[in-house]
Subunit: 136 residues, 2 copies
Amino acid sequence: MLTVGTEWLIEASGCDAGRLRDAEELRAVFARVVAELGLRVVGEQVWHKFPGEGGVTGLALLTESHLACHTYPEFGVATFNLYCCRERAAWPWDERLREMLGARAVSVRCVRREPPASAPPPFESSPQFTLHEGEA
Amino acid sequence: MLTVGTEWLIEASGCDAGRLRDAEELRAVFARVVAELGLRVVGEQVWHKFPGEGGVTGLALLTESHLACHTYPEFGVATFNLYCCRERAAWPWDERLREMLGARAVSVRCVRREPPASAPPPFESSPQFTLHEGEA
């Protein structure tokens, strides 16, 4: 089956709420993922700090696809997505998020992005199929 | 179990390659998702067209989380991620991507973002726990 990318879905619990409200702390996680996996950021990253006690959202467009994070300081939770359209080594999310965000538990899921088989094109636009039919 | 968001992972096959190379066509998909689900975009969307016959990547930061797409014209494939931290109705991805990108097959997966249970905080930083212990 065709695979066009691999996506890692990461959830971290028990994180330090202060760090989850600080965009600089999350930028540092992005910078380390990018450096250690040899990824390349395209253009400007987008960061948003929600007001007051709210969390942070960050998005980075990569030549290899994208990296995203959302934080929920009220729950001590951060989530990340890393979508790579080329093969990459797994990043040590558990170890890094314990160190950088004070996480106490980290789950990592790996999902293959596999498009469904599509129906053949319509008869009239499929000369090879027509030829095959004529031969049968 | 705590759920901090719902993510839809969408893969569309058999799409029109020309439309997958045209950022305006993909922007139109984003605009329709946003309008029809009542989402709100924060700041500027990030779009990138890879050179030559390459595809398009787009990212939009939402108050409800994020929307992303990547296209692979060489395979007729587009992938989307919609991450919502609030409950939303499902969007008719199959119907819309057939209409807007010429897709012939669309798969939609829905993933709950559920952080793992974390260990309780250390004894010394948990006064409630200390009190409970004293009462026992």
